[in-house]
């Protein structure tokens, strides 16, 4: 416990450093783009338009419900893929600092998680505006339940970035394996199709016990249905985030001193 407190104190002491790196990452990404921050939304919005057109024709889905749902799904998925792929690179990217300054390794995944969360917040604001324009909100108070949901997603994202960073520092094919795993998960998580479709075909267990589907429910339910997500979904996300956080802390405590030898 003392070791964790010591790490937290060191991370806080270096707050100006990692916060300025996050700011720089965001500035660098949008500096040369006249679309600015909208550039990061272009991909999910374009995907939403294409999928809405196709799925509306194929399954006759109601676009006013489907469009905000799919946009929310794609924004969450962007968060997850950004965290995983940039997380894989975070220690290699921080190598020049790690080789010169013995500071807590946790700040490098933190840089990735904070950047990813910023984009997710902007994207969710767009989803909320879209939903409001299309059908309005039945229960705006439910939006407050997004706060604990986003805290859990941030903790999960940071832990994922830690694990991906250490794994990639030890095994150089980690990023490739993560890309393959994410592709499989994309189709087993109700991002581009409604979860009800799986339930109707007897595959509901894929959604029920999929932590990523629960993460989606935590975001979608308050925005799209105007209600707080179920306790089952909240519990599943909390358990997943806690497990990932625990694994990240153990990894940091065991490997952070010697990771410099692997870079």
């Amino acid at each position: 416990m003392a070791a964790i407190q010591e790490q937290l104190a060191a991370i806080w002491k270096l707050r100006y450093f990692w916060l300025s790196l996050v700011r720089m990452d965001l500035q660098t990404r949008y500096r040369q783009s006249w679309l600015g921050i909208g550039w990061s939304l272009l991909h999910p919005i374009a995907m939403t338009v294409v999928l809405c057109t196709v799925f509306h024709k194929l399954f006759g889905l109601d676009l006013r419900e489907y469009a905000p749902s799919i946009l929310a799904g794609l924004c969450f998925w962007n968060y997850l893929t950004t965290i995983t792929t940039q997380g894989c690179q975070c220690l290699l990217r921080g190598e020049p600092y790690i080789r010169q300054y013995p500071c807590p390794i946790a700040i490098y995944p933190l840089r990735v998680a904070l950047g990813g969360m910023f984009h997710l917040l902007v994207a969710l604001a767009v989803v909320i505006v879209l939903k409001w324009c299309l059908t309005g909100f039945g229960n705006p108070l439910a939006l407050f339940s997004l706060i604990p949901a986003l805290v859990l997603l941030f903790v999960f994202g940071w832990a994922l970035a830690v694990l991906a960073g250490f794994a990639n520092a030890c095994f150089p094919d980690t990023q490739h394996l993560c890309t393959v795993a994410l592709q499989i998960l994309f189709y087993t998580t109700p991002i581009i199709y409604p979860a009800a479709m799986l339930h109707a075909r007897g595959l509901g267990w894929i959604v029920t016990w999929n932590p990523l589907a629960a993460c989606l429910a935590l975001i979608r339910e308050p925005i799209l249905a105007g209600r707080v997500a179920s306790l089952h979904d909240l519990g599943l996300v909390a358990a997943t985030a806690t497990a990932a956080f625990g694994a990240a802390i153990v990894t940091l405590l065991r490997l952070q001193r010697t990771i410099v030898f692997r870079l």
């Binding site: 600092y97 080789r99 010169q100 095994f171 030898f261």
Partner: protein
């Protein structure tokens, strides 16, 4: 009281003979227990014990691969000892490679902030030093250009200017007094001397024995990862010269270190 103490410190690098091993290969090896890419152990430091106290200026000398820079990184806490114990009292500032650790897409001015924050500065303290750092680096209007467009010399000057703007308690320096061109080098040596004057404890690594003699009162001679000799600068440098089978330059004869520990 600033101090650093190492007790029987050893450092072993465990590296794969060929490259970093992919996860797929690692799993297969675990299954069949036949390694085609074995781990090789490199003993970089062995049984190193030393104590450096308040006010000391210590130089580390030795041939390439003797373990000088590795020892400095162990003192800095970058490399954890694989055996023995390291005890440090005081805040460490290290100056290892000026050209490393820049964010290439950010401007020189922004990089001053990042490096400053990493060295423990706050936005207020770095604001107060910003102009003097820019002036010393001689980068002029290029300070607002992204660092990826800088030449190696420009990066070096910027890195040196940032690193020496700090108020160090324990200062660890590795081969850095040859920064930049001749004019800048003179200025850099003067600046380094001022930085060292402010530090309470200094350890520096250099191949330049003149520099070591000028800055340090005590010298540690490293050989094959062990301390070969530890003592007064004049004695150790003399012994090092003798062992190399070379005669000292005439200018060296009778020179005493200007600053005793």
């Amino acid at each position: 009281m600033a101090s650093i103490e190492l007790e029987n410190v050893g450092l072993v690098f465990r590296v794969r003979r060929q490259r970093r091993i992919p996860l797929k290969e690692y799993v297969l090896q675990r299954m069949f227990r036949s390694s085609i890419n074995p781990i090789v152990e490199v003993r970089s430091l062995q049984n190193v014990s030393l104590r450096i106290g308040e006010g000391e200026r210590v130089g580390i000398i030795g041939h390439n691969g003797a373990g000088k820079s590795t020892l400095l990184k162990v003192l800095a806490g970058v490399y954890p000892p694989t055996s023995g114990r390291r005890t440090v009292e005081g805040a460490i500032s290290s100056v290892f490679d000026f050209a490393l650790g820049f964010e290439p897409h950010a401007s020189g001015r922004e990089n001053i902030r990042y490096r400053g924050y990493l060295q423990g500065e706050t936005p207020r303290s770095i604001r107060a030093k910003l102009d003097s750092i820019i002036e010393f680096s001689e980068l002029g209007e290029f300070i607002d250009t992204p660092v990826r467009f800088y030449s190696a010399g420009m990066r070096l000057r910027l890195g040196f200017s940032i690193a020496t703007a700090i108020e160090p308690e324990i200062l660890l320096v590795d081969e850095c007094l040859s920064a930049g061109d001749l004019a800048f080098r003179k200025k850099a040596q003067q600046r380094m001397r001022e930085t060292m004057d402010r530090a309470r404890l200094i350890v520096m690594v250099s191949h330049d024995l003149e520099v070591i003699r000028g800055f340090c009162g005590r010298v540690i001679w490293m050989e094959q990862g062990r301390i070969r000799q530890d003592g007064l600068a004049a004695d150790v440098i003399e012994a090092y010269w003798s062992s190399s089978g070379k005669s000292r330059p005439a200018s060296d004869a009778g020179t005493l270190p200007p600053r005793a520990a």
